[in-house]
Amino acid sequence: MKNSIEILRSGSFSSIQDIKRKNSRVYGIPRSGPMDKRSHILSNWLLGKNSCEETIEMTLIGSKLKFHFDTKISLCGAKSECFLNNRTIPMNQVLSVEKGDVIDIRKIIHGNWLYLSVSGKIISDSYFDSISTYEKVEIGGNNGRKLSNGDYLKFKPLKTINNRKVPKELINNFNEKIIRVIKGPEHKLLESKIDYFTENPFTVSPTSDRMGIRLNKVGKSIDFDISIKSSPVVEGTIQVPPDGNPIVLMSDSQTTGGYPRLGVISSVDISKFSQIKPNEIIRFRFISLEESIALIDYDFKKVKSRIGIDLVS
């Protein structure tokens, strides 16, 4: 098929994601979008695409894709074993792909989420302005489903630009495990036990998914039998269920929740947090809303000065 990519191997969970969905939460429909927005944005920047445009997100074992047209691609995010016709290829730069070439993302090594951007626009029905895939109601790209063996993605090719490379200082080093958090509405209800959240670390649970990342207490967990009226939640919200093992809501987050909201991860740390692998240790550090806003401002200016784009979230 002309201007298409054929899925030879689907991988663990590969899906199309963009940063465009708007006005859907009022009906209980999540915004979705990439887990690591920063890497998504960088892979689009490499090809001269707008930050919000779609990429293919992969995790654990990536996809094997056959290209039926000449194009350019880029790979950003989790450090992965990437091959073009069985030859290793680098990440964080522009790569040329010819008709008949096979790109194989065999294994994700450091981090969880890899982004493949293609110099083309995926032809797909959009839903609330977006082609982010959300399988529960089958909306977004690839008929609302993750990639499966034998699927074809059709593209409208875009103009390619001169070669770019992601500046080193903008690449995640996967070493940072301290996550900055702004206090949440129910922080006070949990205050007597706040040391529990700051003194000892948590590990990332392997049962996490795009809806939420579950954390396990290192050492003994304590009970929090507090429930609240169903209240709004957002990506980055740290909920505390009765067993004391927090859940951090992510891209496919529900719109409301009944567990106390300990805090919300600062927007500058969500992408980094999404890449922390299962069983790795993380710690929370509380910062004020003002500090978080200042960090966002700094981040925005830094990226603007290095690569000339406006960050989005």
């Binding site: 209980g28 109601v137 089958e138 949440g184 509405p185 209240s231 919200t237 529900q254 409301t256 979230s313």
Partner: protein
């Protein structure tokens, strides 16, 4: 009407406006004002019975600046101008044994027979309290306290679409297949959530819902008509 709002931040990514009076009508009204006037600044809204959440892109507008805009907009508005007339929805429900997965459990907990449970349930006049959590999930208030039992300790991994369930003083309609911890007592063949219509859900917060009983033959017939 006097304006009684309180404001709260949800990290750097959302602003929650709570109303202390006027309830859902007030929420609908401020939603209709703010969704028009702040179209470029707000990504999403979420309504609860007492609050409206506004979601911002923190790289475009800080939640503090958004809050200033909202306050000045709401200052200049007179609220309580138009009361939305609540619609009444009559929804068929089938209590066939294959659908009422937890009716025996409810019966045990409430000391009522399945027949009594159904009779009490059908007499109820319910109000749409909230839409959300998952796509199209409808929270209805007004469940008779005789039927009030807690959520199940271990949630089911999958509850089929159309399932009608109860927990505490609420009843809910699972409009899409999803995991869930409520006690399932029946099922409706009518799909209230259709991703292809605009808006995808026909009920609105504040609407009234009454249920009527159908048998399995009628259920199957209605289900086929839906397709």
């Amino acid at each position: 009407m006097r304006k009684n709002f309180s404001y709260e931040y949800l990290g750097d990514r959302a602003l929650i406006i709570s109303v202390t009076q006027g309830g859902i009508n007030n929420i609908h009204e401020i939603y209709s004002i703010l969704s028009k006037k702040l179209e470029d600044l707000v990504l999403d809204f979420v309504k609860t019975p007492e609050s409206l959440a506004l979601y911002n892109d923190p790289y475009k507008v800080s939640v503090k600046d958004l809050s200033k805009r909202v306050k000045s907009l709401l200052e200049s508005e007179t609220l309580g101008k138009k009361e939305r007339i609540a619609k009444t929805w009559k929804i068929p429900v089938c209590y066939d044994g294959s659908f009422g997965l937890d009716i025996k459990h409810v019966s045990k907990k409430t000391n009522l027979s399945p027949k009594e449970i159904i009779d009490i349930y059908l007499k109820g006049i319910y109000k749409v309290n909230m839409i959300g959590f998952l796509p199209g999930f409808v929270y209805l208030s007004g469940l008779d306290k005789k039927l009030s039992i807690p959520r199940k300790k271990t949630p089911r991994k999958e509850i089929s679409e159309g399932s009608i369930a109860i927990a505490n003083r609420q009843t809910g309609i699972y409009n899409i297949k999803s995991p869930g911890g409520w006690n399932v007592i029946g099922k409706t063949p009518t799909s209230l959530f259709n991703k292809n219509s605009n808006p995808p859900i026909r009920l609105k917060e504040g609407d009234i819902v009454k249920f009527y009983e159908i048998n399995i033959q009628e259920f199957n017939k209605l289900k086929n008509n839906e397709k």
